[in-house]
């Protein structure tokens, strides 16, 4: 019984069933041509919304160019149909290709911008296109636009009326399924993480730039397709298709319907197209109503109708049971060759920020299977050292060599690919995602098959299954196996630290840099963490641990180095370092303030 309830209440089905019901009720009393026209419009807007779900819903990028790509598709299809008598066989692909090509060109400068600049830049692009459509009269017909575009015809079959509607809905089904599939895949997991916490995404090795790029192109292409369909459906095109109005509808569809959800886009499209028809009062106030709806949704239903339904379902029926049986695979681990070559070697690395010396000619080596402690007062350069090694900050001078490969100046993602993983000083996890999935996402770099593999799969994503299975093994190794299905945010602090470590290990690194792993842990938690780290060491993993907690490091590290004002002032075994006067001076702040300080403690 419960299973049946679940099936009906699933996020994608309930709104669809509801919509179908409403549709039948709506269509029965209507004249067929009118109803068909409306339903075609719903399909076209659903397609536009589905496209927007990729860039906004999945990648979380607030693009204001989605309406513009719709307009581009519309104009391309119109021009091709009028100039060369192309049919849907060619106009639809042409619209997609041009929209994607345009997106590719603008993506390079625009995608790396931060949120507010990205919104402005995409809006700017939309404005340029609108002005082009108005101004390039020879090509576009100016404000009057172009008329007389033939209805859709595919493979020699004229698809007006019923046929056009069915074709449009088939495309909606296809794209909707693709979105559904991506959202439930390992790639979807990666999108979820990068949208929530970019540091978590970096730590998990998610290829953020590539995914954002792919999502941007996908949404542009789908918008182009929707635009082309629109032109064939209504037979005319004018600059109105590039108006901000279309973009507003797009926002209403996704925000009110449900962000990132297939069913949300479809539901939103029904709302946007049918609501003004159903409530004639709205005539003339349509946009006013859209504005109010959008405002109400963002204030009170930030996850949209479908998201709210899902939350209701979770409240009434409990969370979806996680029925998937996972085979436990061996924890990932490189076949670590017996070698004396150091895993990490820094040669005279220096880094200055303006006039401030962060690192001054630091040279050190960390061999395989060593736990290397790094201590020093605030601002002594510890974090800079970690950032230089992991590629977040390029050094001014010197070389960084990982497993014999010179990675100096490489971007973080390329350094990560050489087997370097890290944890952050403050915890960066996706709190709502399960413990298991927080780790599974980190397998994305190692498992073959990307976005296209995901799309080619029907049903559950095998890559995600495998990633989860491997994640189970890593969690077991860190004593988190029993907590796999809890939301990561519900773990106690110590376990969250270990979970971060698990995520780093899931990337199968040769070197892990841990930034204050013991901060905020109770004594037993520290002891447990230390024990786990010793086990990893015996497997040959090299670790660099930055921590303030001397007690923790002294008992754990093989060697300890002390940084003061960017210089290595001591390096040696824990015993040597704890007795070193330079360390004592630097560490409790006596070195810097000379006599005054020394007096007080002498």
């Amino acid at each position: 019984m419960n299973r049946i309830a679940f099936w009906f209440a699933d996020g994608i089905r309930l709104p669809l069933i509801f919509a179908a019901g409403a549709l039948v009720a709506f269509m029965l009393p209507l004249e067929a041509p009118y109803a068909i026209r409306l339903l075609t419009q719903v399909a076209i807007y659903a397609l536009l919304g589905l496209g927007y779900q990729f860039v906004f819903g999945l990648a979380g990028a607030f693009s204001l160019a989605q309406g513009a790509f719709f307009g581009v598709g519309a104009y391309v299809a119109a021009l091709a149909a009028l100039q060369w008598d192309w049919t849907g066989n060619l106009t639809l692909p042409a619209a997609v290709v041009v929209a994607v090509a345009l997106a590719t060109i603008v993506a390079v400068p625009v995608l790396r911008l931060s949120t507010h600049y990205f919104a402005l830049a995409t809006l700017g692009i939309a404005q340029v296109l609108l002005l082009l459509a108005i101004g390039w009269i020879d090509l576009t017909g100016g404000s009057n636009g172009l008329a007389g575009i033939a209805p859709l015809s595919l493979l020699g079959i004229a698809l007006d009326g019923w046929g056009g509607m069915i074709a449009a809905w088939l495309l909606v089904a296809l794209v909707g399924l693709a979105l559904y599939q991506v959202r439930g895949s390992l790639t979807g997991l990666a999108f979820d993480v990068m949208r929530t916490d970019s540091f978590a995404a970096i730590a998990a090795g998610v290829p953020v730039e590539r995914l954002r790029f792919a999502a941007f192109l996908a949404s542009a292409g789908i918008a182009g397709l929707a635009g082309a369909l629109q032109v064939h459906a209504i037979g005319v095109v004018s600059p109105e298709v590039l108006d901000f109005d279309i973009m507003v509808r797009c926002l209403v569809i996704c925000v009110v319907g449900g962000v990132a959800r297939t069913s949300g886009a479809i539901l939103g499209a029904f709302l946007v197209v049918l609501a003004p028809e159903l409530f004639q009062v709205l005539e003339g106030y349509r946009l006013l109503a859209f504005g109010a709806l959008l405002l109400l949704a963002i204030l009170f239903f930030p996850v949209g109708i479908v998201g709210s339904l899902e939350a209701l379902r979770a409240r009434w029926l409990g969370a979806t049971p996680f029925t998937q049986k996972l085979p436990t695979l061996r924890a990932p681990g490189r076949s670590l060759l017996a070698t004396t070559r150091p895993v990490l070697s820094l040669e005279r690395v220096s880094k200055h920020f303006g006039g401030v010396v962060a690192l001054e000619s630091v040279t050190l080596k960390v061999p395989r299977g060593e736990i290397f402690g790094l201590i020093g007062p605030n601002g002594s350069g510890k974090s800079t050292l970690v950032n230089v090694v992991t590629g977040l900050v390029p050094p001014d001078e010197g070389r960084v060599i990982v497993s014999g490969e010179d990675v100096t100046g490489r971007p973080a993602s390329r350094v990560a690919a050489c087997g370097v993983a890290r944890t952050f000083q403050t915890v960066h996890l996706h709190p709502d995602l399960s413990v298991l999935d927080n780790v599974a996402v980190a397998r994305i770099g190692d498992l073959p098959g990307g976005l296209f593999g995901t799309l080619a799969t029907i049903g559950a994503d095998r890559r995600l299954r495998r990633a989860r299975a491997e994640a189970v093994a890593v969690l077991d190794a860190l004593g988190l196996g029993g907590d796999g299905l809890r939301p990561a945010g519900s773990l106690p602090p110590g376990a969250q630290r270990r979970l971060e470590l698990a995520r780093a290990l899931a990337r199968n690194p040769e070197l892990v840099l841990l930034d204050e792993p013991a901060a905020g842990l109770s004594e037993p938690e520290q002891a447990y963490l230390a024990e786990r780290l010793r086990v990893l060491k015996t497997r040959g993993l090299a670790m660099v641990i930055v921590d303030h907690n001397m007690g923790f490091l002294l008992s754990l590290a093989d060697r300890i180095a002390c940084l003061d004002q960017g210089r290595l002032v001591a390096i040696g075994t824990p015993d040597q370092v704890r007795r070193d006067p330079a360390v004592i001076a630097a560490y409790i702040g006596l070195g810097r303030n000379g006599h005054a300080a020394a007096e007080a403690t002498r």
Binding site: G60, F62, P109, V110, L113, S114, T115, H116, Y117, A119, L120, A121, L123, G124, I125, Q127, V128, L131, L132, I134, G135, F244, V248, L251, V255, G284, Y285, L287, L288, F290, G291, A292, L294, L295, I298, L299, P302
Partner: protein, 291 residues
């Protein structure tokens, strides 16, 4: 030569309105770190308020200024109450969407009340103009520039000389510490939105005679303000004024050379180029400001 002077005059009068809109935009940005997409619609609201009030009083438009600024300022307060304060702790896109939505509501409310036709209000001082040498100088253009300059000057005094201004600047530079030292944030936000509304409303009054105003013009003013702030340096108050004047000069001269549409398109292309090569603006971002 006279053509150039003529163009410069119209560029300055256009730029002075852009500057007011951009100032409001940057005030809200500094107080809240939020982008106010409704700023352009506040110009429209102010302009149409002026249009509606014009026939009621048989006096020069300038006397309407306090009333228009008050009205638009109130809309600004409503904007902050319904579209910003409830979303303060949510990601920035939530505020993007809420201010876009609020802008749509304002725009269509104006449309419902006034109809879609472009409208015009009484001139600020008088119609007509004079000649300086060979250059025709409209009273309206001069009055626009003077009014905007006066408002900018008053705002400068407000920011530099008053306790409100110091608090606003302190909050813009380090919101966390400002709060920890006892500067109350919410009243500051309300006043910033009110000022943004008032300045936009004043801009609406200024343009409502010279350039006509239609309910759909808001997006244009919002974009110009946004671009002015990007070019002037994100978060720099006086950079925004400079950016606004630069835009207006560029737009006026380019329009004279290649036509209005092409000039607009060129402006956006320049913006994209600025974002590409100097993402921190031509003057650089304000200290310590990130988004």
């Amino acid at each position: 030569m006279t053509d150039v002077l003529q163009l410069l005059l119209s560029a300055l009068s256009l730029g002075s309105t852009y500057a007011l809109v951009a100032l409001g935009f940057v005030l809200v940005l500094n107080a809240t770190n939020a982008v106010n997409f409704a700023q352009g619609e506040l110009v429209v609201a102010g302009g149409f308020l002026a249009v509606a009030l014009s026939p009621m009083v048989d006096l020069p438009g300038i006397v309407l200024l306090p009333a228009v600024m008050l009205g638009a300022g109130l809309i600004g307060v409503v904007l902050s109450l319904v579209a910003f304060l409830p979303l303060r702790r949510r990601p920035p896109t939530a505020v993007f969407i809420s201010t876009i939505a609020f802008g749509i509501i304002v725009q269509n409310a104006v449309l419902a009340v006034s109809g879609p036709e472009p409208a015009t209000a009484s001139p600020l001082l008088a119609a007509g103009g004079t000649r300086i040498g060979d250059t025709a100088v409209g009273w309206q253009s001069l009055a626009m520039i003077a009014t905007a300059a006066a408002l900018v000057g008053l705002l400068h005094l407000l920011l530099e000389r008053t306790q409100f201004g110091r608090r606003l600047r302190a909050t813009a530079q380090d919101p966390e510490i400002a709060r920890a030292l006892g500067i109350p944030v919410v009243p500051l936000i309300l006043v910033a939105f009110a000022l943004a509304g008032a300045l936009a409303g004043a801009a609406g009054l200024l343009v409502a005679n010279q350039f006509f105003l239609s309910p759909s013009d808001g997006a244009n003013y919002m974009l110009k303000a946004y671009i002015a702030v990007v070019i002037g340096g994100w978060g720099r108050t006086w950079g925004a004024v400079l950016g606004a004047l630069l835009i207006a000069v560029f737009e006026s001269f380019a329009a004279a050379a290649v036509g209005h549409l092409a000039a607009e398109a060129l402006l956006y292309l320049v913006l994209l180029a600025v974002l590409l090569f100097r993402p921190s603006g031509i003057l650089g971002e304000a200290a310590g400001r990130r988004a």
